[in-house]
Assembly symmetry: C2
Homo-oligomer: 303 residues x 2
């Protein structure tokens, strides 16, 4: 495959940034990589892991000579990261990101870098782990990467970025930034909000100890604890920057939950059975379309 | 290991019943097994799979000569199952079950069989799949099985049942039935209620299509779809028979969710960060105590 970019700079070397680095090494070996992270310990770890060809001491230095700069920081830190790369960014370079909220990030990047070539992106992939050791090359394999270019973006830039993500194993979709934010509010942000809440609820009960919650978590609760163990700063920023869409989804969820509560109060068995039958279908769709493993219990087995 | 029971009858040959049968074959080979299921197709399948030594044509016939009879049916069907075994049950036989709600089931069993030796039990294990083909011998390995004997239960019966579940690989705990129901309302019933709700919410939206929900489900949503694909009849019965504890937990969850919503509205970053940091600790406890795999993303990997 042609190399869509010759020099890629990754700013932020956590789970996503370090996964991009590993995937580029594996799938685009001709591409040179530079990297930077605000945390000196992460830069040191990145050197030890040889994540990139060159770990820079500033974001601007990482961006020098890059034809693609990807900001892989929490969405609340995007503006600062964009300002930090500014002095190193060539006028030919494409600037992109991996943030989970696209309307807010697009505005922030445009304000920080009014003249830059910008195509925001969001690879819908991740794990509950954080940091440079948590990344792996196959993270984006079979997952969707959503590009949200503004209307006046250069189609060539969009095509090159799409080729880049395709090379890393992702499937690429293009979407309006605001619609992206509504879609992700359902498929990612609301599930995380709910998971954080229920794990908090369970750990604060008077009648049930935390030890009991842990022991009997295999009844379902443990599934929620995985995503409730995700990076706190990243998720704080997502809820603050996709506030409107998240609150709208939450209102819908609350209404539906109140309906289910009412069915329990009224002992309306048929209503419960009907909902529980419908919800199985969407699981089948997800497995059939390769967005989850089909094995029971995520393949965890009995041990 | 000594065989705690010589003849075990399993009434209901779905995920749990067929897993018990497989585990007994593997770990207690001297124990004879009989089985029954109300569904003729399941009985036929049980014969084809050789799940038990003898598939009976009635529950009472399955219970004949058994020194342990385990009812593995949805909790709403326990009373009928207990009545159905009555005429075959020897006065020496121990009757048990695997239901997720213990106070309700204990009452139902006692009413149906006033003179029987009864020790209710609940193995906290399962997958989203149902039916005789879904079971596997390792399902109970390392999981907890909670016994909820009444105060006047014969300690020898409790000890024998504990030995049986230990032989199948489970860890055994004894608990008051009402306390069990509160604990399971948190660790199992509320998580399922939330998962059923959010999957229903996502599939009913106007602004986001079901196709989009499926495509971008790897952002977190897909985790909820697994438990929302569980057996509808079983879960309907659980919510109807553990109503009080479930509604109490739901009130607590709603209050906590309203607090989080308020933090988002007020853009209170520190409050969000604080909660999201606390919730990671409980995940570590679950992994350390062997109640979930420690691999990122449940070990699903990138594909």
């Amino acid at each position: 495959m042609d190399t869509p970019f010759h020099n890629v700079a990754i700013v932020g070397l956590g789970l996503i940034g370090s996964s991009i680095a590993r995937a580029v090494h594996e799938r685009l070996p001709a591409t040179r990589l530079s990297g930077f992270d605000l945390d000196p310990a992460v830069r040191e770890r990145a050197r030890a892991l040889a994540l990139v060809d060159r770990v820079a001491e500033t974001a601007a230095e990482a961006a020098q000579r890059a034809d693609l700069v990807i900001l892989c920081v929490p969405v609340g830190a995007m503006a600062a990261a964009a300002e930090a790369v500014a002095s190193g960014l060539s006028s030919e370079a494409l600037l992109s990101d991996v943030g989970s909220c696209k309307a807010f990030v697009a505005e922030e990047l445009r304000r920080a870098l009014p003249e830059a070539r910008i195509v925001p992106a969001h690879p819908v992939a991740g794990t509950e782990n954080s940091g440079p050791d948590a990344g792996f090359a196959a993270l984006f394999q079979g997952r969707w990467c959503i590009l949200t270019p503004e209307e006046d973006a250069d189609p060539k830039d969009v095509a090159r970025l799409a080729a880049f993500w395709t090379a890393l194993g992702a499937r690429v979709e293009r979407m309006d930034a605001r619609h992206h934010d509504v879609v992700l509010a359902v498929t990612s942000h609301l599930p995380h909000l709910i998971a954080f809440t229920i794990v908090g609820t369970a750990s604060d009960l008077e009648r049930v100890t935390e030890g009991e919650v842990i022991k009997y978590s295999a009844g379902g609760f443990r599934d929620f604890t995985r995503i409730a163990a995700s990076n706190p700063a990243m998720w704080r920023d997502i809820f603050l920057t996709n506030k409107e869409a998240v609150l709208a989804m939450l209102r819908q969820f609350n209404a539906d939950l109140a309906g289910l509560e009412q069915a329990i109060v009224a002992e309306d068995g048929p209503a419960l059975f009907d909902l529980f039958t419908r919800t199985a279908a969407i699981r089948r769709g997800i497995v059939e379309q390769g967005q989850d493993v089909g094995k029971p219990d995520f393949g965890r087995g009995g041990g």
